[in-house]
């Protein structure tokens, strides 16, 4: 029982930290609230989908930027997608970078775009790691027989 309580406290603290650091925002809370007995793995599913989607998009972006003649419209579309996904799950920092990315696309600034791409990749990997840690904690709690505390 003690370990469960400890784990739960750990989870709560970790979550708060993520929020404070701006990795996640209110949207993520909403996602958590959508999870219930009829849909117990909703958050995990959405986040997994986000990971898959984002990785695909990042690859596409890299490929597009390596082209001789850069297709800014396609890049813009991809970035738009990424922005949408990240805002859906509340990955705030990724979203912010995407906004900047789109501006550069409009300006047709190839260097700006490349720089943004790097930034996006960095932020994405950060948030991915954090979320994976979060989920592992949740699994531990569940395995110990506790329940995941709700966001406040």
């Amino acid at each position: 029982m003690d370990s469960v309580v400890q784990l739960q406290r750990q989870l709560v603290d970790y979550r708060a930290q993520l929020f404070n650091e701006g990795f996640l925002d209110e949207q993520f809370n909403q996602l958590q609230q959508l999870q219930d007995e009829s849909n117990p793995d909703f958050v995990v599913e959405v986040v997994t989908l986000f990971f898959e989607d984002s990785e695909r998009l990042l690859d596409e972006l890299a490929k597009a930027l390596e082209q001789q003649s850069v297709d800014y419209r396609k890049i813009d579309a991809h970035v738009h997608q990424l922005k949408g996904s990240s805002s859906s799950i509340g990955a705030q920092r990724v979203q912010k970078v995407c906004i900047g990315f789109r501006n550069f696309c409009e300006e047709r600034n190839i260097e700006g775009c490349q720089k943004c791409l790097q930034q996006v990749k960095h932020e994405y990997s950060l948030v991915k790691t954090k979320l994976e840690t979060l989920f592992k904690l949740e699994q531990k709690i569940l395995a110990a027989g506790g329940s995941i505390p709700l966001p406040m």
């Binding site: 209110e26 996602l31 009829s38 909703f42």
Partner: protein
């Protein structure tokens, strides 16, 4: 002359004296004697006499007469011999002859004396017979005449009855009568409607008789047949009478036929008219339904625009006064939307085409919702509202949530509307058998069963009350109860009528109790709800914070179109938690495909998740 072996004289006389002899024999007798009634009775020859005598008196007397004559002649002949000297033999012969003659004559005389009474009686009998024969002949003549008359009548009747046309009947009668009775002119007088006069209606020779009328009591009428130029035979008069009867019968038949034909024509006309009216009514009903459907749609669209935009407005930054105003707008428009729905519902209810949307729902939440809706108005009027839910009231139930809420809202709304002071208490509990049967609801027979329960809701207020005699009128639509103050009509309009219909559809009963004016009122209704099974009922206890309690549209069908998988998933989940029925599409083509399959009203909303975090939807 002699047909058969002549019977004895006695027998013959006897047979003649029978008055009801056979006619044939009578006629034979007549013929035998001499031609019956055609000849004068006074002519009787000597030869006939002798023949008669000989035939009827027997041969014996004839022999006697013959013998006498012969002997008498012989005597006188022999007397001639006694003129001169005669011998003894001649004298003897002479004496013998004389003696014999005397003997025969005595015998004959004796015999005659014996027969003469009989002879005389025969004579009288013959006379009698002749008279009888004459009579019989007369009768025969009469019968023949009657037979002929009968034949005439039959023929006339046949002619008359061969047609049912009044005019033909009468014309035929006149013609045939004229022919039968050899008439110059024949006229038909019929009694008028009053029965006091006879009116000339048809004549044989004249084409169009002018309407002469003659009072029926005039003595001339009765004398017509007795003082006329022509001598009427009885049989002719009888014929006329019979014909008149037949004509009367035929005329009445014709009249009946005419009447029935007329009635039939009338019925046909009425039939056509009714059919027409029915078709018109059907057209009217269809037109009304179409109108209602169209108007309903037309009314709903702006209505929902108002509701949606007011909701959106609520989310912006507002001053408290502005917020209150927006809330009021929202509530009013919701009520108006409800009324519009009511109108459509009522028309569907009347058609009998309304069916309950059964589904499982949170019963407690319904009451809380209603309370939330009514609290603002109640607090403005400073009427405290209390809700008492019995502890054994199931949390979830199966029924038509929307209409149940409508009913509760209407009832509570009435309580609030018609109270100026006092408190309003709402009690809801599961009705057990003793509280189910109410003396005020004599024709309500609840049948308890395992997977149903009866929800009883009582709303008590301390308001104006109602006159007990007016209570039954409350549930009739558009009925107003007239009380002392001007606008005191509880249950006016459609509200209570619709509630009653809904409650009836839910196999329940609704009624109102009131002590009288100014003594408050209690509205009670019982409805039958299903008990859900526990496992399948797990509504999400965490309603999203974005839900403001007024934007739940259960059963709403939403199509989410987003090419971003993550966004799509999140949006779908959010909508599912709002109670919608969500379909997703990732491309425009997919979207069109889905839409074409399921043709409903579409409203498009573009939601940019990056900007707004809350969703407001309307049909």
């Amino acid at each position: 002359m002699l047909h058969t072996q002549p019977p004895t004289f006695q027998e013959r006389i006897k047979s003649l004296s029978q008055p009801d002899n056979d006619h044939r024999e009578g006629s034979k007798v007549d013929d035998g004697v001499g031609g019956g009634n055609r000849r004068d009775v006074s002519h009787v020859d000597i030869t006939q006499e002798i023949g008669f005598l000989g035939f009827y008196c027997g041969q014996w007397v004839l022999v006697q007469f013959g013998a006498f004559i012969v002997l008498c002649g012989a005597t006188h002949l022999i007397n001639l011999w006694t003129f001169g000297m005669h011998s003894r033999t001649v004298a003897v012969v002479m004496t013998t002859a004389k003696v014999l003659t005397a003997a025969v004559s005595c015998a004959t005389a004796l015999m005659l004396v014996h027969i003469i009474p009989d002879l005389l009686s025969v004579k009288t009998r013959e006379l009698f017979l002749k008279n009888k024969a004459a009579e019989l002949d007369r009768e025969m003549g009469l019968i023949r005449t009657q037979e002929e008359t009968g034949r005439h009548v039959r023929m006339l009747t046949h002619e008359i009855r061969s047609t049912l046309d009044r005019h033909t009947i009468l014309k035929t009668t006149l013609v045939e009568l004229g022919r039968t009775l050899a008439l110059e002119e024949c006229a038909l007088w019929m009694p008028t409607r009053t029965g006091l006069e006879l009116q000339l209606s048809y004549t044989l020779r004249q084409q169009n008789p002018v309407g002469y009328t003659v009072p029926i009591q005039l003595p001339v009428i009765n004398q017509v047949f007795s003082n006329s130029a022509r001598q009427w035979h009885v049989h002719e008069l009888e014929l006329v009478e019979v014909v008149a009867d037949q004509v009367a019968v035929a005329l009445s038949h014709a009249a009946i036929l005419e009447e029935s034909m007329r009635a039939r024509d009338l019925l046909m006309e009425q039939n056509v008219a009714l059919d027409h009216a029915r078709r018109e009514a059907e057209t009217a009903v269809r037109a009304r339904n179409d109108f209602l459907a169209v108007m309903n749609h037309e009314m709903r669209t702006p209505m929902h625009a108002v509701i949606a935009l007011s909701s959106l407005l609520q989310e912006t930054e507002l001053t408290p006064e502005q917020r209150l105003m927006v809330e009021t707008i929202l509530r009013s428009s919701n009520l108006l939307a409800t009324l519009i729905n009511d109108v459509l519902d009522l028309s569907r209810l009347e058609d009998g085409s309304l069916q309950l949307d059964l589904g499982s729902f949170d019963l407690h939440a319904v009451f809380r919702e209603v309370l939330n809706l009514i609290k603002p108005i109640a607090s403005v009027k400073k009427l405290p509202v209390t809700l008492n839910l019995a502890p054994d009231l199931p949390e979830y139930a199966i029924g038509d949530e929307k209409r149940l809420m409508q009913t509760i809202l209407n009832v509570i709304g009435n309580a609030v509307k018609f109270s100026k002071e006092g408190s309003i208490s709402i009690t809801a509990f599961v009705a057990k058998s003793e509280s189910l049967r109410d003396s005020r609801a004599p024709d309500f027979f609840p049948v308890p069963s395992d997977n149903h329960f009866y929800l009883r809701v009582q709303v008590k207020d301390a308001g104006q009350g109602i006159n007990p005699p007016d209570i039954p009128k409350l549930f009739t639509k558009f009925a107003h109860t007239q009380t002392l103050a001007t606008k005191n009509s509880r249950g006016s309009g459609l509200g209570l009528a619709i509630c009653k219909r809904f409650v009836n559809l839910m196999e329940g009963h609704i009624w109102i109790e009131s002590e009288g004016l100014g003594k408050g009122c209690m509205a009670i209704f019982i409805v039958k709800l299903g008990i859900p099974e526990n496992t399948s009922e797990s509504k999400n206890p965490f309603l999203p914070k974005a839900n403001h309690g007024q934007t739940t549209f259960p059963g709403l069908k939403v199509l989410v179109l987003d090419d971003n998988g993550v966004s799509r998933m999140v949006t779908k989940e959010l909508l599912v938690h709002l109670g919608c029925d969500v379909t997703t599409a990732s491309s425009r083509d997919e979207c069109l495909h889905v839409v074409s399959q399921d043709h409903k009203e579409l409203e498009m909303f573009h939601i940019d998740l990056a900007q707004s975090k809350h969703f407001y939807l309307s049909k």
